[in-house]
Amino acid sequence: MADERNIMVAGAAGQGMQTIGFILGKVMIRAGFEVFAMQDNESRIRGGHNFFQIRISKKPVRASSTPLHVLIALNQESIERHSKEVDPSGIIIFDSEKCQVSGEDGRFFGLPLERLAIEEGGNRIFENSVATGATLAFLGLDFQKLEDFLKAFFAEKADTVEGNLKAAMAGYDAVVKKKDAFAELRINPEKSEPKMFISGHEAVAIGALAAGCQFMSAYPMSPSTSIMMYLAGKADDFDMVVEQAEDEIAAINLAIGASYGGVRSMTATSGGGFSLMVEAFGLAGVSETPLVLVEAQRPGPATGLPTRTEQADLLFVLHASQGEFPRVILAPGTAREAFYDTIKAFDLAEKYQVPVVLLTDQFLADSYFAESRFDLSDVHIDRHLLEEKKAKALKAYKRYEITDSGVSPRAIPTAFGLEVVADSHEHDEYGHITEDPHMRKQMVDKRARKMKGLAGELGPPERIGNQKSEFLLVGWGSTYGAMAEAIEILNKQGISVGGVRLRDLWPFPTEQMTEILSDGQKWAAVENNATGQLARLIQMETQKKPEGMILKYDGRPFMPGEIVENFRKEMVGK
């Protein structure tokens, strides 16, 4: 029996692919599978062409894969676009009364989806459930799992549960009748611990909750909006204010204000919005106000491809804003990492009084991961503030006291009877404007010293696979899953490839990377961009140049197979 299946739900925006995809994913994870699901959406509300792709597997998966085993084609266009991606042994479910297929292709499985939905469920909106039921049957899975989930999911709407279930059952039954024709597609889950089914940005959002974030301001921008949406739904329960700003400049200044005002705060945007935040990003830097900022990358330049994915903002974020000041850049590769990195971001922001950027992208943001329970036992919130006792003992409060660590005592205004200042000019230790050259130099140096402490806080580059391999793939952020899998495949193909993955990107692990890259392995960067930004950063930091580049910049994420293919082209023989 096979190890995994790829399912795609495809149709026009507004046809509910997200719901059915989400339901399928949940049912599969509850059935005991490992699951990974990605979304591919156009920038429109109705019509066009979207899909939701789910991979179920017996072993952990963190990327999508080909070929498809089940295609749920909700309209004619979906049949035409995706049939060729379906395995010969696969199945294409479509509405036999609304779409047409030509030829004698055994993969086509027509069902009167809409009619069954109306006849069985009582409403055409249940047509997706017919297809869901059929999919379950093809995979040889128990209907009960779906029933349990739908009952929980639509808990408050008995009618909806009823209609969905009847429609799903109709789809299920239609397939079960032809049981043996598709026996090849069946798959059995392993018994495993229950897992969370969670997207990258949901993980960021609940990371923020776990970190005690109480203020979030943003201006909607794909693919970052999901964070604000999620948090807005939880704000009341978490003593949190979520404020939609009039623009991104307001969004970041609001977040900075809230932080100065005394609560943990964050903002989220995409590259275009970050562009507008750049000045205030420097304000956080010079005023030493803690700030957590999610930069959810999408393809640029400018408006680019609003609903698609890319990793082309790394060097921009690293160098953004006039002048020089310390910052932190974290690039999680999975939902689990996104959760913990968010918590870490809040901690580092306050411990070092610097802006911390979580660099995500559309692919990470909207993809669903199967994750073991996020463990809160290690999560402690330390605000790293000046203690009341110390405050009371102070003769004069120097907000920007020059210290060895570069970190100065931070207090919350109106508490402790101190006056707390923050300033955007170069300033003296009291926060007053200065033009003195010596003070200027001292302040630049003080801020810069934080880099040393920060370097000690970050994790080392992660080694993947054999450390003594002939080749090395080097990647960061959301390509993690696809790259790791590609390494596995290449090794199976007899090519000795290891990997290095950077999650904590800045301060850069210069020593470690220099060491890693001094082993004489031929290396290639794997990046979802056109210029190899991590590779360029590595060159800057270590003076090591890659032998090859595996780049993709068409707005779509890597699949492991593509990396394998490109690797063979770029590197083998080098």
Binding site: F197, S217, N253, L254, L376, V421
Partner: protein, 287 residues
């Protein structure tokens, strides 16, 4: 313990030009705080960049001196985080109505309980005398070589068009009246604007203290009722031989952001602590 104006004194040296209209405004701010019995550590000043925006450096207080044009969003969120503290924004006319114009519109819409004091000198002072959004027509500068021909932005009318619940104009040459206005603005529950006529002695030879003195008159309750929005709009458009100062509009009925927000009703955010069991519940919801 009584508060004295000296409590707000600091020894940082002032970089304004001698005779600048900013000095009496600084005094009025301090005096208003004294009159309200607020102590330096109890009040938060927020400013952007410009001559006016340096004000917080010139007195003892909590302050956030941020970016040109961006004081309002910072102040809004400070108040959200710390919703018991009086928050006062000090801005220039370029700062507030030029670079920061969008925030001005939306801060008024939010009706957050902060006070905006704009030092309106009709000029970019710190950058050496270019026209600002409030500069009168015909004013010649090195950039506006043929004189300004854009319509001056009337901050009072705009605020009123957005139904700002407290709209006032002060004059730097009348410190007592200005102090009273600022005081009332601070105590007002909701967004309050005090636009202050401020002579710039270095770049504006027309609008001197005397020029204003010859023209300003006080709106006195009794003669003028600041409760009718349309009347206030009309009054805000009066400019020329006679220039009204005082409270143009006051609407205590309109609920502030703090009063609306379901979360802020229970007190300042900064005083609450996270209950980790709630996070546990959220995590559970992903299974």
């Amino acid at each position: 313990m009584t508060v004295k104006i000296e409590d707000f004194q600091n020894d940082f040296s002032i970089a304004w030009c001698p005779g600048c209209g900013n000095f009496p405004i600084l005094n009025a701010v301090k005096q208003a705080l004294v009159d309200l019995k607020l102590r330096p550590h109890e009040v938060i000043l927020v400013s952007g960049i410009g001559q006016a925006a340096k004000l917080p450096h010139y007195m003892r207080c909590n302050f956030f001196n941020g970016l040109h044009g961006r004081a309002l969003p910072v102040a809004t969120a400070i108040r959200i985080a710390n919703s018991k503290a009086p928050v006062i924004v000090i801005g220039g006319d370029g700062d507030t109505y030029g670079e920061g114009g969008n925030h001005f519109l939306h801060a008024v819409r939010r009706n957050i309980n902060i006070t905006l004091i704009t030092h309106n000198n009709q000029v970019f002072g710190l950058t050496r005398g270019q026209a600002s959004p409030t500069t009168e027509r015909g004013f010649v500068t090195k950039v506006q070589t043929h004189g300004v021909f854009l319509t001056p932005l009337n901050p009072l009318t705009i605020a009123l068009a957005l139904e700002a619940p407290f709209v006032a104009r002060g004059f730097a040459g009348d410190g007592k009246h200005l102090t009273a206005l600022i005081q009332e603005a601070i105590t007002f529950e909701g967004f309050s604007l005090v636009d202050v006529l401020q002579p710039c002695v270095s770049y504006d030879r027309v609008h001197t203290f005397q020029w204003y003195k010859d023209r300003v008159y006080e709106l006195k309750e009794g003669n003028y009722e600041p409760s009718d929005l349309m009347a206030a709009i009309q009054k805000s458009r009066e400019w020329g031989d006679r220039i009204p100062t005082g409270i143009f509009y006051r609407n205590p009925e309109r609920l502030s952001f703090e009063q609306h927000s379901p979360v802020l009703k229970d007190g300042p955010l900064v005083q609450r602590r996270l209950d980790i069991s709630r996070v546990q519940k959220v995590i559970d919801s992903f299974f």
